[in-house]
């Protein structure tokens, strides 16, 4: 589709651009104490964006701007997940005391720009576009991570993030350039076409390229061995940003990986070793091993953490591992399971982070000691946190179980060669129980009955309810989610 024709299908992004500009301009006119208002501007804008994404989701899949990006139900789904998590984080940012010392105008604006980048990540089908969108997101994340400029740890987080980010995107760019050299095009579909006709002599280059590209992808979803930035960045960043980084870029990252592998390297059965060009690289096994290492590492290191925020950082590495389990299969069913997992993960993970924020507001710390006796002083918060921990462990009847069920189901259904992945995943959930329930233990088993019961302030309470209800309900009744995901399982595919 030509540039001009495309605009009609680019309305969500256009509205988003206007929102970002509006946010910037509003910031000029408000006092420092009133900068929460910019959050309102962005929030309302995002709701409108969400509605227009929803409107477009029923349009037939097509490419825009001369095959740069696509719109299809899959990208619409991911965009809505991103909007949802952004909205929740915006509300949380209003009540996050860490940010009180700073103007929040830029903060919200940058978040808006990040959403723009995430949108493009989910829908690009061109390696240039892909690279640009990743960079937009990365640079915005660097700034947000270092937003607490008076706090050395936040500065450290930003700096580390920049170094790792620059390195891995450099490596990725190198890989992408090799692919371009082999295929002579930057477009996914053209690449797929050429690669499938390559003979074996190009294999070394192709394998190199793939591994390098995966460095970039792995960095985005914090998969081992590209995860080293995660704990430090997550610990140093403002908690709201940590929560955001653990959810939205991860969702977009998975969308990007799925689209890339699905459209460049897989056939109708899914991702199998013989479907990647003509290489003999055991690609499913490599991703499988990475997934297992990722979750095992995340879980084992999480056990030793003293700060709950850092523990959640490692746990989010582990969750990336669970989702990666389904990548080696990459059938439609696998994509479905990752989408369901992501959607559920947004709620349970954000919920846990919101409680960390709430506790930090109250006690000024985020270590296990700060949670001591929380269940007795604030039973409701304690109960919510227990629910989130249960859900993150993946115990029924919470939503986390449904996510894991879908992933495991995909693997068992894909045949016995993937069975070891299921067993690894299962054992890992058991390991994760230990540290998640360490939180519960500290909250309930440690403390004493207190005579005064306090309740969280209303905004925080609302956020908790809004994340807790889906974390429970989706574990008991997820028909609407399942059918929505099923409808969204349509990729734009030129070969069709």
């Amino acid at each position: 589709m030509t540039n001009l024709q495309s605009l009609e299908f680019f309305i969500p992004e256009l509205i988003l651009t206007i929102t970002i500009l509006a946010a910037l301009i509003t910031d000029l006119f408000v006092k420092k104490s009133k900068t929460n208002m910019i959050g309102w501007v962005l929030g309302v804008g995002l709701v409108v964006v969400g509605l227009s994404v929803h409107n477009l989701s029923s349009a037939p899949p097509t490419t825009l701007f001369l095959d740069m990006i696509v719109i299809d139900p899959f990208s619409s789904f991911m965009k809505i997940v991103i909007i949802l998590s952004t909205l929740l984080v915006i509300v949380a940012s209003w009540v996050n005391d860490e940010l009180e010392k700073y103007r929040k105008g830029e903060y919200f604006t940058i978040m808006g720009i990040m959403v723009m980048g995430l949108f493009l990540m989910t829908s690009s089908v061109d390696i240039i576009m892909l690279y640009i969108s990743i960079e937009v997101v990365s640079i915005m994340s660097f700034v947000l991570a270092a937003y607490l400029k008076l706090d050395t740890r936040s500065n450290e987080a930003g700096l580390k993030y920049v170094i790792y980010g620059a390195f891995s995107s450099g490596v990725m760019l190198f890989g992408l350039s090799i692919v371009y050299g082999l295929a002579g095009s930057t477009n996914y579909f053209a690449i797929q076409d050429t690669l499938s006709s390559l003979d074996g002599s190009a294999n070394p280059a192709l394998i190199m390229a793939l591994l390098m590209i995966f460095a970039g992808f792995g960095y985005k979803i914090s998969s081992v061995p590209f995860h080293f930035w995660t704990p430090d960045v997550y610990e140093g960043s403002p908690s709201t940003i940590t929560a955001y980084l653990s959810v939205a870029p991860k969702a977009a990252g998975f969308a990007m990986i799925i689209r890339f592998f699905h459209q460049v390297f897989s056939d109708s059965i899914g991702l199998t070793s013989n479907s990647i060009g003509s290489t003999d690289l055991p690609w499913p096994e490599i991703i499988g091993v990475l997934a297992v290492v990722t979750m095992t590492m995340g879980n084992l290191v999480a056990i030793q953490q003293k700060s709950i925020k850092r523990m959640l950082a490692y746990s989010s590495i582990a969750h990336a591992g669970y989702m990666m389990l389904a990548l080696p299969v990459l059938s439609m069913e696998a994509v479905e399971s990752i989408m369901i997992y992501l959607f559920i993960y947004v709620f349970m993970n954000l919920g846990a982070f919101f409680i960390v924020i709430f506790v930090k507001n109250k006690t000024g710390g985020e270590s296990f000691e700060d949670f001591e006796g929380l269940g007795w002083k604030m039973p409701i918060v304690g109960a919510f946190m227990t629910l989130f921990m249960l859900s993150l462990t993946g115990l029924p009847p919470t939503a986390g179980f449904v996510g894991k069920l879908y992933i495991f189901k995909t693997l068992v259904g894909a045949g016995s060669e993937f069975l070891w992945l299921v067993i690894a995943g299962g054992v890992n959930s058991v390991i994760s129980l230990y540290y998640y329930f360490h939180v519960v233990k500290v909250m309930f088993l440690g403390g004493k009955r207190s005579d005064v019961i306090t309740y969280p302030p209303s905004t925080m309470f609302g956020l908790m309810i809004f994340t807790a209800v889906p974390s429970l309900i989706l574990g008991l009744y997820w028909n609407p989610l399942a059918s929505w995901v099923k409808d969204s399982l349509v990729f734009y595919n030129q070969v069709m």
Binding site: L390, P396, L405, K409, S416, L419, V422, F444, Y477, A482
Partner: protein
């Protein structure tokens, strides 16, 4: 009365919610509400029993609703001769347990709310006929149990609670993989009855890693249940959890939660993969033997009265395993001895009921003395018989029932297990009679040390067992005595269902040998 089974599950759940919203200082109100809820559940269970048709071995009072059609998950409940006695036992023990917990002072509201949730989970497992539902209830029990042990337990409670949780979760994860294996091989359904129908044929020839998928699934699911039973070597969580848990929770743990393991093996492993029973029966009988001997020896070595009772559970569940293994006597290659198979399987099922009542009684009695002396060291007492004659009498009765004295129900079921297993596993049965000896030794020796000899001066003012405590023990004692003398009603109740399971196993064997 159409949804009588749903009532059994949802009444305690509603009760848990109601209790959670009661004012937290009204301790007595909370206790009475819990008693009313569990009492109501018990009455419904009795009504169910009266309406149940024992001549029909298949599922009765079935309920079926669509739930998640995209994965073929439904809400299916049903009851048969295998689950009905367990439901009755659950109803009774949870009702009694409320009175055993009457003296809990710490966070009464939380305690009873979790207690009722546990109740719902247990009943749910016994009644559900859809694997997804089954699994949910199976896991729903874990959280309340974690808190009940971890918050209201003894000094090492936190360690005991998380160990229990980790062990059971490990088992259930393996079970989940097995369930998913069945889901895919049997035409993408979680419906247990449908899977039962399809599995022997569907699993035929399916390979996982070059092994028979059915065997892999059998073992995966078995481990999940074996941890609950607990079968050696998965038993190490049990003594710890028992010792640390508050009395009522120990009662329920031994009385019902362990039975879920045996129930699961019979329902799932036997019901769905009868073929593989032959392959594993020898191992099962051997594990039974190890449980009997190991549990007995460990019990003998204990100085803590509660730990002794805990190990006696491992010992007693060994007999049940032995009886279960006897089912293979029905197979053609073993001479098609239907009588032995019947004796063995009914013995195993009867044993789990009897152990439920007897161990519940034992734990309540240990709790009684702990309440007064604040320790359970066997050697720390002595001569209590002179101070607490009633307590001594009723403990003697419980201990005798525990050691399998004729006249008590334990004797009947243990004998049935032995008789059933004898034709097939002669050596193992002969060896496991050593267990009976050990069984008698540890109970009698402990009894002697606690009640006879010189009165320990510290306890010269020991209070006699009180009315509330008697009220919790006596019904159990009566049941134990009644079934010891006249086991007929129980065996009639389960006979049709047992026959059906045996027929299935026997049929598969003939079919396989052709």
């Amino acid at each position: 009365m159409e949804n009588i089974l749903s009532l059994l599950i949802w009444i305690p759940i509603l009760g848990a919610i109601v209790v959670a919203f009661l004012p937290r200082d009204k301790d007595n109100l909370i206790r009475y509400t819990s008693a009313a809820v569990t009492g109501l559940q018990f009455i419904i269970a009795i009504v169910l029993w009266r309406k149940f048709d024992p001549s029909d071995g298949s599922m009765q009072f079935m309920e079926r609703y669509e739930w998640i059609p995209s994965l073929n998950i439904s809400y299916i409940l049903g009851v048969d001769g295998l689950s009905l006695p367990m439901v009755l036992l659950t109803g009774m023990l949870f009702f009694i347990g409320v009175f055993v917990s009457w003296n809990i002072k710490k966070a009464v509201k939380g305690y009873f709310s979790l207690y009722l949730l546990l109740d719902a989970g247990v009943v749910g497992v016994f009644l559900s006929l859809d694997f997804f539902l089954f699994y949910i209830f199976w896991e729903v029990m874990l959280l309340p149990m974690y808190f009940l042990i971890g918050m209201w337990g003894g000094p090492q409670r936190e360690y005991a609670a998380i160990k229990f949780f980790l062990y059971t979760l490990f088992g259930s994860v393996l079970m989940l993989i097995g369930i998913l294996g069945l889901y895919f091989t049997c035409g993408k359904t979680f419906d247990i009855l449908l899977i039962m129908e399809r599995a022997p044929e569907a699993l035929n020839g399916v390979l996982w890693w070059g092994m028979s998928a059915a065997k892999v699934i059998w073992v995966l699911v078995f481990i999940g249940f074996a941890i609950k039973v607990p079968v050696f070597p998965f038993h190490t969580w049990l003594p710890l959890a028992h010792v640390e848990a508050p009395t009522a929770i120990s009662v329920l743990l031994a009385g019902i939660l362990l039975k879920l393991g045996v129930y699961g093996i019979i329902r799932v492993n036997y019901g769905i993969m009868p073929n593989e029973v032959y392959w594993f029966a020898g191992g099962l009988a051997f594990l039974g033997l190890v449980n009997v001997i190991w549990g007995g020896l460990c019990a003998l070595a204990q100085t803590d009265l509660k730990k002794l009772v805990a190990y006696s559970s491992i010992n007693h569940m060994g007999y049940s395993l032995l009886g279960m293994a006897a089912v293979v006597a029905a197979g053609a290659m073993n001479g098609g001895d239907l009588k032995a198979a019947q004796a063995g399987l009914s013995g195993a099922v009867f044993q789990m009921f009897n152990h439920g009542t007897i161990s519940a009684m034992l734990f309540i009695l240990v709790g009684v003395v702990y309440e007064r002396a604040h320790h359970r060291d066997i050697d720390g007492f002595g001569g209590l018989a002179s101070k607490m004659p009633v307590y001594t009498g009723i403990t003697a009765l419980a201990f005798f029932a525990g050691l399998g004295l004729p006249g008590f129900s334990g004797f009947v079921s243990e004998a049935m297990c032995f008789i059933g297993a004898f034709p097939v596993f002669r050596t193992i049965v002969i060896l496991s009679t050593i267990g009976i000896l050990l069984n008698a030794a540890y109970f009698l020796w402990a009894f002697q040390r606690v009640f006879f000899g010189k009165l320990n001066e510290k306890y010269k003012d020991m209070e006699e067992i009180n009315g509330l405590e008697l009220f919790t023990v006596i019904p159990l004692a009566v049941i134990t005595l009644f079934f010891g003398i006249y086991p007929g009603p129980y065996l009639d109740l389960i006979k049709a269902t047992m026959d059906q399971i045996i027929e299935k196993v026997a049929f598969v064997a003939t079919y396989a040998s052709l």
